[in-house]
């Protein structure tokens, strides 16, 4: 019984890493899947900027090369969030989270706009330093309980995970793109190409939901 997410009804085994589908993880997985498909199918918008001092306005158009690259990044981001939603292993989850972090950088880094690139760089620095609390959190979970599997941890027979270790994990996820570090992200969101930029937002929200579930399960 996974206390917080409800009873899992399907397990998918990859050796020691077992993916599980409980009501909560399945819902999140399906949402990630739907949005990924949605994002893949839609074309980017043409962002309109007003040219000050005259009546003119300009529409920014995304070049085909950039379009392909960002579509690829958005898809990878979607796949990573899907994986993070259903994985039943703490370390695997942190890896998926950092994959989400780096695809988010990729989605906006391709934009040729100094301001956006600056924001992307700062966000990238945060997401890179966030791997420190993430991975150390996962390692400390293993050391203090002797397992990394959420399914085992949820059984309650293992020693409790110290609160500080949980905070490490949550802080790591926050660093991968949640508020209040969103301020940097919001600047990234000024980039044109709504469907792809939305993936950044979606993936970090979903991952945050999942880490709450994980922290409460442990």
């Amino acid at each position: 019984m996974i206390a917080v997410g409800g009873e899992p009804f399907y397990y998918l085994e990859f050796g020691d890493i077992v993916l599980y589908f409980s009501p909560v993880t399945t819902t999140l997985f399906v949402l990630a899947l739907l949005f990924t498909l949605f994002v893949l199918a839609s074309r980017p918008e043409r962002q309109v900027d007003i040219a000050f001092g005259s009546d003119a306005y300009l529409a920014k158009v995304i070049t085909p090369g950039e379009l392909h690259f960002r579509k690829f990044m958005a898809t990878a981001c979607g796949l990573a969030s899907m994986g993070a939603m259903v994985t039943g292993d703490v370390f695997d989850f942190t890896l998926f989270a950092s994959l989400v972090g780096i695809t988010n950088i990729g989605i906006v880094a391709a934009v040729k706009n100094r301001h956006v690139q600056n924001a992307a760089y700062q966000y990238g620095l945060v997401s890179l330093s966030a791997t420190v609390p993430l991975f150390s959190g996962a390692a400390m979970v293993a050391a203090t309980t002797g397992t990394l599997s959420l399914i085992e941890l949820a059984k309650g027979t293992y020693p409790a995970v110290p609160l500080a270790v949980k905070s490490f994990l949550v802080l790591g996820i926050i660093g991968e793109g949640m508020a209040p570090f969103y301020a940097a992200k919001a600047e990234m969101f000024r980039a044109p190409g709504a469907p792809y930029v939305i993936m950044c937002s979606l993936s970090s929200l979903l991952i945050f939901l999942r880490v709450v579930e994980i922290a409460m399960t442990m």
């Binding site: 999140l28 739907l34 043409r46 609160l163 209040p180 969103y182 301020a183 969101f189 709450v212 409460m216």
Partner: protein
């Protein structure tokens, strides 16, 4: 299923109308009739509709359906007494929907609305801290179990008042004209809604109606417990009036002030939950 959805929609729009009425009366205006929002929705259904030339057309149209879809799903989860995390997950997806609305058109006003909706994602964090506080007591996040727990131990509103307060702030951030409602600020025309007109705007009203009902209902279920239907309606109306008073009597914050305030609340909540966890839960 369809009657429930329609009832929830109708009720939610009425609540929003009530909100406008209360705010207007506080400001010494007569205000629109209570069913004004409903009339708006009905009117927009028959208005002329097209997709702007600069928009990402699939996204422009699809995001309306997505918005309606997620709130219908949330409503069904509430009715089924499902997991509260799913409801809050959907609540967070509202951010994505706002973002999609704002960015898909290419309009700068919509874009600012969308960007602000991303900034205001800070409002979600108090939500999760309050969820953690609840889980410490109920040991489950299924709505059924939470309601059952309250039937035995009395309303959670009295057991964990700070959690209720945090969740109240979250509700507040989704009310039009509230201190945290930076997303639809009037300096941005209509924020993320700017470019969606006609039929799409009607869809937005459907979204808003469902959203209001679902959020208020969840709040009542989680913090007060199971009630008869009439009781639910009365408590939700009272809650709405409290919210309207708060909205009318507080200034709207700048986006980053709003983030700061919500982050501070989150910090306080974290300390509180930490204290509960450290002292051990009675019962």
């Amino acid at each position: 299923m369809i009657p429930e959805i329609l009832a929830a929609l109708f009720f939610g729009l009425l609540l929003l109308g009530l909100h406008r009425k209360v705010v207007a009366r506080i400001q010494k205006r007569p205000g629109p009739p209570v069913w004004q929002e409903f009339l708006h929705a009905a009117k927009f259904f028959w208005k002329q509709t097209w997709v702007p030339k600069t928009a990402s057309s699939l996204m422009f149209v699809g995001i309306v359906l997505v918005g309606i879809g997620i709130w219908v799903a949330a409503l069904l989860v509430v009715i089924a007494g499902g997991n509260i995390l799913i409801i809050f997950g959907i609540y967070m997806l509202q951010k994505i929907v706002e973002h999609g609305f704002g960015l898909s058109s290419g309009s700068p006003y919509g874009k600012f609305g969308g960007v602000r909706s991303v900034i205001s994602a800070a409002s979600e964090i108090p939500l999760f801290v309050s969820v953690a506080a609840i889980a410490l007591f109920t040991h489950s996040l299924a709505l059924q179990d939470i309601v059952a727990y309250q039937a035995v131990h009395g309303p959670l509103l009295l057991i964990v008042p700070p959690a209720a307060f945090a969740m109240f702030l979250v509700l507040l951030s989704k009310m039009p004209g509230g201190p945290f409602s930076v997303v639809e600020g009037k300096e941005l025309v209509s924020g993320y809604k700017t470019e969606h007109f006609g039929f799409f705007r009607a869809g937005l009203y459907v979204c808003d109606g469902l959203k209001t009902t679902v959020l208020l209902w969840t709040f009542v279920l989680v913090f007060i417990g199971g009630l008869p239907t009439a009781g639910f309606i009365i408590v939700m109306v009272i809650l709405m009036i409290i919210l309207s008073f708060t909205c009318a009597l507080t200034p709207m914050l700048t986006p980053f002030d709003s983030v700061t305030l919500q982050t501070l609340v989150t910090g306080a909540m974290l300390v509180y939950v930490g204290c509960i966890a450290a002292m051990g839960v009675p019962g």
